[in-house]
Symmetry: C2
Subunit: 227 residues, 2 copies
């Protein structure tokens, strides 16, 4: 069975998944890279960047789940793809915005970008294809599952889309990483989710790096499905 | 040196220190007792309640710091003392409200209750004396330190007063306990504290009970003072 998962989504102590304002220079706003330093230190990240070394403990164990365990598609909010809002600029032109990740993005699967302004798909090197869809969480999950060919669907964020998908009840498992900083402003993940513990088993485990890994597993997910 | 400390202040995953609405029947609102179950299971709590047993691990180690380490006074927000707002009812009458804790409250020291409606002090059994003062965080800390006779001052909560005292910069150490529930509403502790990590070293450690202990230590507190 194909699961819908949030993986390695970092938030501050006060629950913000990104700072503000987001821009082309500062995709995470005033948060900068502080929410992700725990991941940069892992073997997973080092390997992806072609560097030797990296930590091999709990942070790496979680980080590796980002892609090694059968992800067949991602859904992301538009603001993960671009800080622009409103109608897209330069569609089809040579210098149009093609995401933060260069010509060969690290997804290597179909990626569904949620937007109220649909546009033609964008095929990148390495198997990543960006689809731009105006869809509810349920519709987006249906599309992504079909594209994932039996593998899991990753919800890539930001905080707002993760909150909306949790509210819609379409998330099977979620992994958050609580970084010990207080951002004070930005997009917050927990708002409006009162009573989430009724639907999910919640585990918290601290890492020597200083972060806490919080995992939510939907109650009633059978062992075989949760493998 | 006398330190100003927050000890064993429980919050939800989304940062709420109490639910709503608060009432005489439900002092923590819809949170009920869920924020404090981790403490009820400790040896510290069992002993205070005259019961045998209780856990003796990390949760107990923190819980015991509540009073065994030289607390000489407490400051609390009015809403920790009573759900009433506005002018006090029945001042001096036989059935006036004297707090949640019965005739012998567990403080055994002077307790400064912050209120915009000062009233005469209330002497209880066992050494607890409630003082009702209209004071800024700085003023309240000065009063409490003088009353504490060289011992530490505990900030008892709720979330709003802890946030105000952190904002005022008068807190030396703070210990929060993150309980894996999402309350969604109530009083939130982290709001308006952007960049708190610049002033405090922050440590997070998970307990087998499911909670995470988050400790803040003011940077520059010397080893001898922080003992």
């Amino acid at each position: 069975m194909s699961l819908v998962r949030v993986q390695n989504f970092a938030i501050s102590l006060d629950g913000f998944g990104t700072g503000e304002p987001q821009s082309f220079d500062e995709p995470f706003g005033h948060a900068g890279e502080r929410l992700h330093e725990w991941m940069f230190a892992t073997r997973f990240w080092h390997a992806m960047s072609g560097e030797p070394g990296g930590s091999d403990g709990i942070d790496n164990a979680f980080a590796e789940r980002h892609e090694t365990l059968g992800i067949g598609a991602e859904i992301m909010g538009r603001r993960k793809f671009t800080p622009e809002t409103g109608p897209w600029a330069k569609v089809g032109e040579e210098d149009e915005w093609r995401g933060w990740w260069g010509p060969n993005p690290p997804f290597h699967t179909p990626v569904f970008v949620l937007t109220h302004y649909p546009r033609p798909a964008m095929e990148m090197e390495g198997g990543t294809v960006f689809h731009f869809v105006d869809a509810t969480p349920e519709e987006a999950v249906a599309m992504a599952k079909e594209a994932a060919g039996g593998r899991d669907v990753r919800l890539g964020g930001g905080a707002t889309m993760i909150r909306e998908f949790l509210t819609a009840g379409v998330v099977d498992r979620a992994h958050f990483v609580v970084v010990p900083i207080v951002l004070g402003r930005g997009e917050r993940v927990w708002d409006g989710l009162e009573g989430l513990e009724a639907d999910y088993g919640i585990e918290q485990v601290s890492s020597p790096s200083g972060v806490v890994h919080v995992t939510l597993t939907r109650r009633g997910l059978s062992q075989s499905n949760a493998s």
